[in-house]
Amino acid sequence: MTTTSRWRALTHHHLFWPVAVLIALLLVNVPFTPGFFSIDMTDGHLYGSLVSIVLFGSPLILVAVGMTLVIATGGIDLSVGAVVAITGALTCSYISDQTDQNTLSAVFLAMGIGLVAAVVCGLWNGFLVARMGIQPIIATLIIMVAGRGVAQLITDGQIITVNSEPYKLIGGGYWLTLPFSVFVVTAVVAVTVALTRRTALGLLVESVGGNAEASRLVGIRSTRIKIMVYMFCALCAGIAGLMISSNTSAADGNNAGLWIELDAILAVVIGGTSLAGGRFSIGGTVVGALVIQTLTTTIYTIGVPTQTNLVFKAAVVIVVCLLQSPKFRAKVFGAKGPEGPRRDAAPVEPAPAADAAPKMEVSR
């Protein structure tokens, strides 16, 4: 009985399904790639499929973490892809203008310029959404459309390449045997979790997402919270932009971060954050982003033609959304009542009856 209740507690944890999907996806690889889980040490760097999943997934994790907070306030940010492109373009064009591209101060200044531009984009989005009261999809559409144009304007339509060792470190370098980007991601995620879960900030964000007007009436400055959240999201996108351009040592105004906003939203949804706003899970988002990256890697390794990648993604979106839809669950699982309670049944379930039941299947 205790194992049953423990099992129930486990399956009802909000991270259970995302993690289960991630593990299942990882296991799918094993028959196709025998050494999938092995990690080798070469030249003092760790190599292996798991490492590369984390390495290539890190920009997505960053963007998705920022997106989580925006979605938690009931908004959405479509402009992150354009912000990625702008940041990369500004930083790379500044570095490429230097005579000595390896100077640390120049690289830091360039990154600063890029990140400031990103934050300004976020400020603009937040201003439109919070002050002007424009729907988030539309407000952020402006930068999504114009931002790529601006990025191309900065790079003059060219792909700017840089040859800077310090800059290369952020997205493609190694530090203490691990890819440096892993440390950046860990730092950002840790700071975000600390700020949202160890202070009242997370609660405020959730309450603004739950009901912006009610939050304002109880004295929460919902406008300020919203603007902050959009700025944070743009900052995360900016850091991701640095990573992407650093990894390829080039800034491509047209293709850098293309469709990353969609992947990020997908990651957030897989992680269990509701698109309606009001609650969020940073951990879930990180797992969600890893699921997407693992899916991409899996498609490469098991030899399915890579072009079906998007079809798989579409299937994942549909399945995840259907599972999250209360109406769908009521129609499909509710109709087959005896099949057993799913994760949604928990709140209405009389707890003693469930404990007394020997098996999950007959508890109703």
């Binding site: 959405i76 439109l128 002007m132 009261g133 424009i134 729907q135 999809i137 539309i138 407000a139 559409l141 402006i142 930068i143 999504m144 459309v145 114009a146 931002g147 790529r148 144009g149 601006v150 191309q152 304007l153 003059d156 339509g157 105004g253 969609l262 939203i265 997908l266 949804v269 698109l275 033609p305 072009q307 079906t308 990648n309 998007l310 079809v311 798989f312 993604k313 579409a314 299937a315 979106v317 549909i318 959304c321 259907l322 999250q324 839809s325 209360p326 109406k327 769908f328 129609k331």
Partner: protein, 343 residues
């Protein structure tokens, strides 16, 4: 919100009424369309005076706006229906890409006659839209995320058909693409004519049929529409079906225009379509707007492209920046208008 655009013509006379008149003018639903039309005319006149010696004034330059943007017009009309009902459709671009790919594959690789392929492609598009509408309505998932899945799915299906572009050498397609309808001062392509026909049909359906009224009503206030007893589900699903159909038709026109199928055709065209609808004055919250506005929205976007071509020194990315700036300006106009109306 009623769908009618009837504003009393007889404004109160006298100086005391001038403020009331100003308020009424700002509250007029036709204002955004008029602003867009005025903008278009202003841009055209500016273009005339600047590029007079380069043949900008020729009627054919004006008609080319329709020839070069016919597919966008059809796609934007589909998007108008969806946005008018308060939803959004992100799958437009990939549906266009998929249709070009699908038809090219059927015509070139499978050797099916065009007469059979066209209805098939349209049916697939409409069915795709129907499916999305069905999921949106029956499972109450946000349109944004469902059509996002549609975007992935159709773009993915393009790539499943073929990774490389398929050029179309079919004789009937070639003839159709070359056919020009003479208008005296210039000529239009088949695509442009089809687009104008679609425009007329859409204007009729949206403004003069029961279905059109329901679309407005649902976009205005879904709850009230439901309480009035309007068939909410059927209308919503129909709106997405219309959008899917229009996207597929736009795909066919695009295929005719460019005579090939390519998995990367029309990437991001949903943004152009949405931008055209917004610039055309349709409220993004739904319930207010005109199909004619969408036409002007598309024409303004098309004119930006032609002006950039005529200018010669400007690069193509200025199109994106100009679109973004216009989008921003019109969203802000909409915002001030709606807040005035509430006050």
């Amino acid at each position: 919100m009623s769908a009618t655009a009837q504003t009393p013509k007889a404004a109160p006379r006298g100086s005391t009424a001038s403020r009331a008149r100003a308020t009424r003018l700002l509250g007029d639903r036709r204002l955004p369309v008029l602003v867009t039309a005025a903008l278009f005319i202003a841009m055209y006149v500016a273009g005339l005076s600047r590029y007079q010696n380069y043949g900008f004034g020729e009627p054919q330059v004006f008609l080319n706006l329709f020839i070069d943007n016919g597919y966008l017009l059809v796609a934007a009309i589909g998007a108008t229906f969806v946005i008018m009902s308060g939803g959004i459709d992100l799958s437009v671009g990939s549906m266009i890409g998929f249709t070009t790919m699908f038809t090219a594959w059927l015509v070139e690789r499978q050797g099916l006659p065009l007469l059979l392929v066209v209805p098939l492609a349209l049916a697939v598009g409409a069915f795709g839209g129907f499916l999305m509408g069905y999921v949106i309505h029956n499972f109450e998932i946000q349109p944004f995320i469902v059509t996002l899945a549609g975007l992935f799915l159709f773009r993915g299906l393009c790539l499943v058909i073929s990774k490389e572009s398929i050029s179309i050498n079919d004789a009937s397609v070639g003839t159709l693409a070359q056919t020009r309808v003479s208008l005296g001062v210039g000529d239009l392509s088949i695509g442009a004519v089809v687009a104008l026909v679609v425009l007329a049909v859409a204007a009729y359906v949206l403004h003069y049929t029961r279905f059109g009224r329901r679309v407005y009503a649902i976009g205005g206030n879904e709850q009230s529409a439901l309480l009035m007893g309007l068939p909410l589900g059927g209308t919503k699903i129909a709106v997405y079906t219309v959008s899917g159909f229009c996207s597929a038709l736009a795909g066919l026109l695009f295929m005719l225009y460019i005579q090939s199928g390519d998995p990367l055709h029309a990437v991001g065209m949903e943004l152009d379509a949405i931008a055209a609808v917004v610039i055309g004055g349709t409220l993004l919250t739904g319930g207010s707007g005109y199909v004619l506005g969408t036409l002007f929205g598309v024409l303004v976007l098309g004119l930006i492209k032609s002006v950039i071509t005529f200018e010669g020194t400007l690069s193509s990315w200025w199109t994106k920046i100009a679109t973004g700036v216009l989008l921003c300006a019109f969203i802000l106009i909409q915002r001030t208008m709606t807040s005035r109306r509430k006050a």
